[in-house]
């Protein structure tokens, strides 16, 4: 059984999804989805242990050797991401049933869980596979379930946001398909490992240059890198809150994974950073993303929009880390990835609790919530502190390494700019804190709403689970740093 863990990682949620369709009761579907997600999480922990001791695991499906068959390749980076995705999924599912009872009509609950499991399976499949066309197929599974999940939101703007995401996402996926086709034409193979070898011979051709550009643009569309980020704020704001919590913490991480995988493993360091002016491009776009998004976040009235823009800014940080092209830069990106998953997961779950209790996410409706919903608001404040990068949180650790990495390469202006952007984060987090704690409670009675009570346990447990891991990993950094460092070293070391 242990040798087959690799494929079970993806098969368990993939087969659980159609099985879930047989369950008609909403609660039963939730419980089944939770158990499946938990099993997936356990498998990912076992896989990480295996990879850290044994090294890269290779699993050939159907027992056909690559490149004639499809192979699954788990290295330290994949294992790291698998564990992040599956654990976030399990934690978010803890609060899912309570949240969707308010936000999604009863007859759609069963379908919701089916789609959730499908997107989980899709994301795990993208990370675990070693074949580029398989990436495309599972990318489409993730994207299609995402479009449907987002469109389940209450507001009619959810439909429009989902449609825009569909159009942009499909163009991105088709670009990736074109890139794969061009790569296949010049090398004859679809296996990532094989491609990295054969691309050496043809990488001076214009066709490969174009292939790389198309794949890069396709991934950036999925990543919401500035200036292709337009679909993200609306999609995150109007989707059901649980969906936002899940996707904010996982889907962009998978896109970063794809960027790293294609840049470092498939095309190779030496090609990627010389062919396209990738270093400058990623640096400039990353920095622009950080600043434009942070400034936009300051002016938002809807808190979900605010944190969505903040997500775009964080993606900018991760991209700047990649652009540095050093072990420390990549390690900082991976740490920030981990941090962002924990942080945004906690924040959006807390927002889900708020919506459940008060029914609104407008900043003006937050007045006095600090006293009425102390635990939930405290979680949001701690999450915000992690966003800024205050010591004792994981945010501090990742920002610290990012700045260190920038200094190591001699990019002093970049380091300064990153610190300035943290100040911007302080502004928009302070806005929330000020309204929640320092304003008198809104006239709830006059508006016909009850005074909000604290959120139910179903929300508090997962939220505080994520927040406390945030603080725990901020203090005891050994595990996360060790894995991130090992992953980045192996990527840069093996990169042609």
């Amino acid at each position: 059984m242990l040798t087959h863990l690799v494929i079970l990682q993806v098969i368990v949620p993939l087969l659980a999804a159609p099985l879930c369709l047989f369950l008609t009761s909403s609660r039963l579907s939730w419980f089944f989805a939770l158990i499946s997600s938990l099993i997936t999480c356990v498998i990912s922990i076992l896989l990480l242990q295996q990879v850290m001791t044994v090294g890269t695991i290779v699993y050939e499906l159907g027992d056909w050797n690559a490149p004639w068959g499809i192979e699954y390749r788990i290295d330290k980076l994949s294992a790291y991401l698998l564990i992040i995705i599956s654990s976030i999924s399990t934690v978010v599912l803890l609060a899912a049933q309570t949240s969707i009872e308010e936000e999604i009509p009863q007859d759609r609950h069963n379908v919701f869980y089916v789609l959730y499991l499908l997107s989980l399976a899709g994301m795990l499949g993208i990370v675990a596979t070693g074949d580029v066309f398989n990436v495309f197929v599972f990318l489409e599974i993730t994207s299609l379930s995402a479009y449907s999940l987002i469109a389940l939101g209450r507001d009619r703007r959810a439909l429009w946001a989902s449609y825009q995401y569909l159009i942009m996402g499909t163009i991105g996926a088709t670009f990736i398909l074109i890139g794969i086709g061009l790569m296949y034409q010049m090398t004859g193979t679809l296996n990532m490992n094989d491609l990295s070898v054969r691309l050496r011979e043809v990488d001076q051709t214009r066709t490969i240059f174009v292939a790389f550009s198309f794949i890069f643009v396709g991934i950036c569309l999925k990543l919401a890198l500035f200036p292709l980020h337009f679909w993200l704020p609306n999609a995150y704001a109007y989707a059901p809150s649980i969906v936002t919590a899940f996707f904010a913490a996982t889907s962009t991480k998978v896109a970063i994974y794809l960027l790293i995988r294609f840049t470092f493993s498939v095309f190779g360091l030496s090609y990627s950073f010389t062919a396209l002016p990738l270093q400058t491009l990623l640096l400039v776009l990353g920095l622009l993303g950080i600043f434009v998004a942070s400034i936009a976040a300051i002016y938002q009235q809807n808190v979900k929009h605010l944190f969505a823009y903040s997500s775009i800014a964080q993606i900018g940080y991760m991209v700047v880390g990649i652009s540095m092209n050093t072990t420390m830069g990549l390690m900082a990106t991976l740490l920030h990835l981990f941090n962002h998953a924990l942080m945004k997961g906690a924040l959006f779950l807390a927002l889900a609790a708020l919506i459940y209790q008060t029914g609104s996410v407008r900043l003006s409706d937050f007045q006095g919530l600090g006293r009425q919903m102390p635990l939930t608001m405290a979680a949001i404040v701690l999450g915000g502190l992690s966003l800024i990068g205050v010591p004792l949180t994981v945010g501090f650790v990742s920002k610290w390494y990012l700045v260190l990495a920038a200094i190591e390469v001699g990019w002093w202006p970049v380091a300064v700019l990153m610190l300035v952007a943290s100040l911007l984060a302080i502004i928009y987090v302070w806005r929330i804190v000020e309204i929640a704690y320092f304003s008198p409670p809104a006239n709830g009675m006059a508006q016909g709403r009850e005074i909000a009570k604290e959120a139910p346990l179903a929300f508090l447990i997962p939220v505080w689970l994520l927040v406390s891991s945030n603080i725990y990993f901020g203090i005891d950094t050994r595990l996360s740093v060790q894995v991130a460092q090992a992953a980045s070293q192996s990527l840069i070391g093996l990169s042609p």
Partner: protein, 314 residues
Amino acid sequence: MKDLFAVVMLSGIYSLLSACFFVAMNAVDVAITEASVGACISTLLMLTAITMTGNCKKRDYHKPLTALLVVSVTGGLLIYGTLDMPYFGSAEAPAHVHVAPRYINDSFQETGVVNMVTAILASYRAFDTLGEVVVIFTAGIGVLALISASPTAREDATSGAANHSMHEQHLSLRITTKMLLPFIMLFAFYVQFHGDFGPGGGFQAGVIFSAAIVLYSMLFGLRTARRVINQTFTKLFAAFGILLYGSTGLISLQNGGRFLDYNFFLNDPIAGQHLGILLIELGVGCTVASTMIIIIFSFTGRLEDLQNRKNGQA
């Protein structure tokens, strides 16, 4: 173009022409799939959609400058990329030299299947096909989540008004359809099981089967068709297809091989390959047929609800 109906029909013709192109390029499996899916299902769905959203474009809303910019940059980049490509039809292209020769030369010995495309699809790259089936399943579930009518709404519809059957008016159509239906279904089964020896396979078979059901529903009304093919049954049948596919893989795990390794099914590897391919193609056919039926019935059901509401108000 202002008239969306014309746009949709032209798009259908484009799909049909590309299917002919695929035949000319000797891609026969692809041609049959493109013809059934692109020209048939896609056009049908679009026609239903424009009936609900409006036949004509209201205004000539254009963003021509941004579009032209994006298109010229992308197009220019692509043409730049083609300059180094191996010439069209060249036999020394890397694509034909590296991985493909084993498929062409050895697939019969290794899998016992004559159709190389089926061999790759169902054996060498079977996991991709599992992904493909899950994609279509996801779309079916997504469509269900978005536009399926809630059970109460369906019960409210009066039986008379909802039965948009044409059979009273078009006798010849009714008789022809009733004669054609069994042949279409038989052809679907033929394509399903003959996929090993000629063009075809689970996916094409599923689409053709669902086309038969759709034809029936178009002529005899959605209510009648729903009585023949129950919504719940279709959903569960779609799930069953994927589970069949997955179980085939899991059985290989249990027998000691890798996932989807058919050599371990029976004592003889070639017989095992045949059995494995048969089972998964069956799974694909089930899921695809059910999902297409779900999607088309959902769209048609929504259309009928809309028309009922309009008639009710009028």
